[in-house]
Amino acid sequence: MSEAIATIALAGNPNAGKTTLFNALTGSRQHVGNYPGITVEKKEGFVDMPSGTVRVIDLPGTYSMTAYSQEELVARDFLVKERPQGIINVIDATSLERNLYLTVQFLELGIPVTLALNMVDALESKGIRIDSDRLADLMRLPVVRTVARSGLGVREALQAALTHPRQSWEPLFISYGPDLDPVLGEMTKLISNAGFLADTYPPRWLALKFLENDLVVRQLFEADYELHRRLRDMADEVARHCEKTLKTQPEFLIADYRYGYISSILRQGVLTVMPDLQGRADLSDKIDAVLTHQVAGPAIMLAILYGLFSVTFTLGEIPMGWVETAFAWLAELAGKMPPGLTRSLIIDGIIAGVGGVLGFVPLILIMFLGITFLEDSGYMARMAYMLDRVFRIFGLHGSSVVPFIISGGIPGGCAVPGVMAARTLRSPKEKLATLLTAPFMACGAKVPVFILLAAAFFPEHGARVMFLITLAGWAAALVAAKMMRSTIIRGPSTPFVMELPPYRMPTAMGLVLHTWERGWQYIRKAGTVILAIAVLIWAMMTFPGLPQEIAAPYEAEMAGIQEQLQAETGEAARGELEASLAALERRLKEEALTHSLAGRLGQAIEPVTAWAGFDWRTNIALLGGIAAKEVIVSTLATAHSMSDAENTDFAARIAAAPGWNTSVAVSLMIFVLLYSPCFVTVVAIAREASWGWAAFSVVFNTAFAFALATATYQLGMSMGW
């Protein structure tokens, strides 16, 4: 990347369209969705402008500059530590007043701000008119009207930020009235005399944050004991004063003056609201009256979920058949190679392994399309709202719903972004409980296992099985959360507040792009990580090879039959001979697999796993699944293709395999759903919480899953399923 001439950050309220604007500018495909808090990490991109290359940073959304949760801290830290040349403050024009609250704080920090008045396409239907020139005059900053979704005005916004009239940082001064101004002045003088953090924060901003009880800023001051003490005394004093004379707290007074400053600007002809078009006529409210209805709402939610699966399975079956045929053809082609290690690697390792995963791509894509629709339309936020009531009982709250959904609460998600989404939870206890239980959801990598087992043991009922598995994931997560919240992470529940975005009709283009983006990630993973692991596991299942003294008798017997076969001419006798030859071959393969490293490992733990009905072959797959869940299906495929010569359908092969029955299948589905998170998720948990908790999640989840699987299997067997 060539040297960037400037860094411009995109900042603003959650769900204002920052990432959409970022994508429109840079041509990248970062995740966009219609609910607050999608972006939790900063993302970087480069844009070629006439004057040179510009580095653009997409930041997580924030409501204020007081850091409430971790992703808000990411945004603030970036601004003060990296000091970009300027920011484009992306504003949801339909809620201008609230959005400007943050703008004022940016201005107080001193960053050159360019306003991107986004979503101006939605203004008319809401009966709102904004005079952007007047706004620009009054606030003395560039204002550009944008529709990020169609790319309108986005380059102009960047251009305006580059040619901002103010090229250096310069804090805005707002008066906070006769009660606060004097003390603010004194505190500011004290801080600037001490030269405290002079090169990162304006002194008055620090003083304001101190009065606002910003914990992070107060902690900063602890470095200077004397200064901290004096500031604290002043802050306490003015707090007492405010309480006595105004019955208020400095932080509310500050908020009040900020909103006052904003409305004094908006009142000067900037914002016109046509009252006849406002209010109850809003379409979102009408939809909500039905979709979030107290009784109908949850019923509709379940119906939507169920409908999603039915559609997925009905539609997905056809293209899935094509992909399977394609891989069968490939395997046949490779079968023409001379027998040996290379052929085994290609057929049993690569084609069976990667093909086992890729075969599910059509289904996964349809599922992704469904999730993307729910996410872009704004329905996901409503699910959080409706489920808050239930979640509260289990010691979580509504904000936990979104991490769950992203993790696979609607099958097809992934626990890694899900775990990261838990950042938006402010309270550490709920966050931890969410982090540890989100991996229970049916992520896209586990889905193939369920589909496979459903096809083998519950043919015709795929959608229903998937639906039940999904509910089981939610139920297990809630129960486990409750267990943790009443033991190791006990504590009162913290308050919860979230913005509900308006319903938006997702654009066809957006749906296709997001679905493809997710699908492509899945495919790419199958072609890289999963391929590597599949080859590794194939090697473990192949080596060490069978020692000669075991293999020799088989080979001798097989050679004998071959000879007889050459001599024999009778139809019936030939058939018999061929059958016994195939059986021998199978036994030889089985013997070899048993003898391999993976086979021995699987057998070593079989005495324990047998309680839950898992044989040593399944154990290999489950061990591999800790690396990545896709590996479970690919390893099962490899294990069964290596010990099975007949080239029938994979599902049929599993159903016919010795030691498999309905109880085993159900027990395995439960275990796969719940056991240890995959490696990448474990790392993500460690990053969000600690390595201790990450280790805990491996042990706890596996134990929890094993207990449930064992109970299911034993019950199933006693019922004779």
């Binding site: 809620s95 932080e251 509310f252 908020a255 979030t292 107290q294």
Partner: protein
């Protein structure tokens, strides 16, 4: 503009939780019982003097319309918002 002590909210005072569906009211003050979580409410637009409309209040979390955005908040926060 006012901030009330917990005892002021004890009885006879209406909070957000008492509003019925479709009812409008003006925020009078925020009671301190919820501590710093209230500053998030102010950042999201619930400040004394703002008009607030209850969209749905049916035992679970509240759904309100404030400064033309829809907020969903739990009842313990609703309890802290005194309205008139």
């Amino acid at each position: 503009m006012f901030f009330c002590k917990t005892k002021d909210t004890a009885d006879g005072v209406r909070t957000l939780n008492d509003l019925k569906d479709g009812e409008k009211a003006v925020v009078r003050c925020l009671s301190r019982s919820q501590g710093c979580h209230l500053s998030k409410l102010t950042a999201m637009g619930i400040t004394p003097g703002t008009e607030i409309e209850m969209l749905s209040n049916s035992g679970g979390p509240l759904l309100v319309l404030v400064r033309s955005s829809r907020l969903c908040l739990c009842r313990s926060l609703g309890q802290a918002v005194v309205v008139e």
